[in-house]
């Protein structure tokens, strides 16, 4: 809004983008690239969670379930129905949003702690169903052998393939950038302002003509859409799914990412997801109780939450 194009902020963003896009050219270690890809997936999920929790102020403890629903629905469509990856990706986002609508309509009638517990119970229900419905989801054995994204055909007989880890990185990086861009635009629009009005004071914003139910539902659905997207990318990248991917511990981890980086800020979930994912991937194999450390971070950080 009237900002100079060559402001410091834009310069930093440009440098970060150049850095992000050039990574596969100077990072040769598959392991490091894998960690960065995981960071991007978790950053995507955390960013979408932040829209509902940070900007709209509703403690949605079912985000992991939506991530899992996105992952499982795309995995199942590809494996059991033989659908191509790309339509499966789009459909799995829509399925996630549809489930979000079914849950959001009753759950959003409640407020505060009731909403948090209601969504958390829903999260458990999803995990139990995935775990028990063996005919569909293979239950605890997990869903094995989900193929990497299908190649995109180009003219002149060429195609973009996703067999290399670098190509997968670009796919996930671009998805993350789209997520950040769209959520940034939403937050800085009238819609975003109505989200923050709800966060500030629900009754007052209703008196100003903002429909609390519609606004919260909209924020909820947008955030489930991106959670489903991130889940579908996770399924194709890792190639294996087990019911734990929808567990409420995933929700709690995403919450930790948002909290550490700063709830209700654009960069917070990104920073949190990157730092904590890198630390926990590097600590794998080392006998450090990772979640105990997360716990202490959470217990000591609440005073810094959000920009109230």
């Amino acid at each position: 809004m009237g900002d100079k194009i060559f402001s410091l902020k834009n310069l930093i963003i440009l440098l970060l983008l150049i850095l992000a896009f050039s990574i596969p050219f100077w990072v040769s270690s598959r392991f490091i690239l894998h960690i960065i890809i995981m960071c991007c997936i978790w950053a995507m999920a955390a960013t979408s969670m932040n829209l509902m929790m940070g900007y709209t102020g509703q403690i949605n403890l079912a985000h992991g379930a939506f991530f899992g629903i996105g992952a499982y629905s795309s995995g199942l469509m590809i494996l059991k129905l033989g659908i191509n990856f790309w339509p499966a990706l789009a459909l799995s986002c829509l399925i996630t949003v549809f489930v979000g609508l079914l849950i959001g309509l009753p759950a959003l009638r409640t407020k505060g702690s009731y909403f948090a517990i209601g969504t958390m119970c829903f999260n458990v229900i999803v995990t139990v169903i995935i775990d028990s419905w063996e005919g569909l989801t293979e239950g605890a054995r997990g869903l094995l052998g989900i193929p990497k994204p299908a190649p995109i055909p180009l003219p002149f007989g060429k195609a973009i393939t996703f067999t290399s880890i670098g190509a997968n990185y670009y796919l996930i990086l671009i998805s993350l950038l789209i997520t950040i861009f769209i959520i940034y635009r939403i937050v800085h629009s009238m819609m975003g302002r109505s989200f923050m009005a709800i966060r500030g004071n629900e009754e007052l914003s209703e008196s100003l003509g903002i429909s609390a139910m519609r606004t919260k539902l909209l924020s909820f659905l947008i955030s489930t859409f991106f959670a489903g997207w991130a889940g579908a990318l996770y399924a194709a990248y890792i190639g294996f799914l087990s019911p734990e991917i929808s567990d409420y511990h995933v929700t709690f981890e995403l919450l930790t990412f948002c909290m550490i980086g700063g709830l209700g800020t654009m960069v917070g979930p990104l920073i949190g997801a990157f730092i904590l994912t890198i630390i926990s991937e590097l600590l794998q194999g080392v006998a450090v109780p990772r979640l105990v450390a997360y716990g202490f971070l959470l217990v000591s950080s609440p005073s810094s939450c959000g920009e109230e």
Binding site: R109, V124, V299, C305
Partner: protein, 287 residues
Amino acid sequence: MMVLFIQQVLNGIMLGSIYSLVALGLTLEYGILQIPNFAHGALYMMGAYVTFLLATALGLNFWLAMIVAMIVLGLVGILVERLVYRPLMLESHLSSFIAAIGLIFIFGDGVLNIFGPDFKRFPPTNAQAFHILGITITLQRILIIVVTIALIVVLQLFIKKTTMGATIEATAQDMEGAQLMGINVSRVRMIVFALGTALAASAAALIAPIHLVHPNMGGPVILKAFVIIILGGMGSIPGAIIGGFIMGLVESLSGGYISTSYNEVFAFGVLVIVLTIRPTGLFGAKG
């Protein structure tokens, strides 16, 4: 047919006793925190481990182990209140919420790292079985019901008949008002936390000889306790007791007649339906 039914009802009452004790602690804590104490399930799990350690490593008698575990967990509850929730008293509720989730990580993963993920089997305790008219029930199950009722009666007497109990009720109703009347609110908070976690520990100790002890045992129980206090009205003591028994009966009857693998879906399904119709719970204030 009738025998199966009575057997399931007895099991339901036994389970319901455990749920009532956990929900009672949770509802008391809700009264002063104004948020559900998510860490309650982790403290319940710790109670089972402390009892298990005392009974196996030190070879204490089961009842002695249970009482010591209640005292230990009561002290842990006080520490949690002092170190974690007290500094957040004036912050938004979201802060206490997040801190509670942090506590789950600390206790859950801490126990997992110290004792490992495997299930611990409690030494057989009060395993004598009684056979009456085709119904089989072990002594431990009978004792669970008896001890729970005794604990509930003692708690009721404590809250209704003593001054300390009255101050707890007053604080839960209106913290500022209680403070103005000269009630030492910080002492009340301490006592409530000690009571709440000791109740959770007693429930965990009672069920430990029947179910197995493992790091994730708190999760399902605490979620059901949440459902109970939501349905029974947050902060309501009779709601928690009655709700606990109803939950136990629903679980054992649906498990006996329909399917056990979906019993959480039934419990939480009921909650989702109730919240759809009454967003503040069955007995909660209209809001």
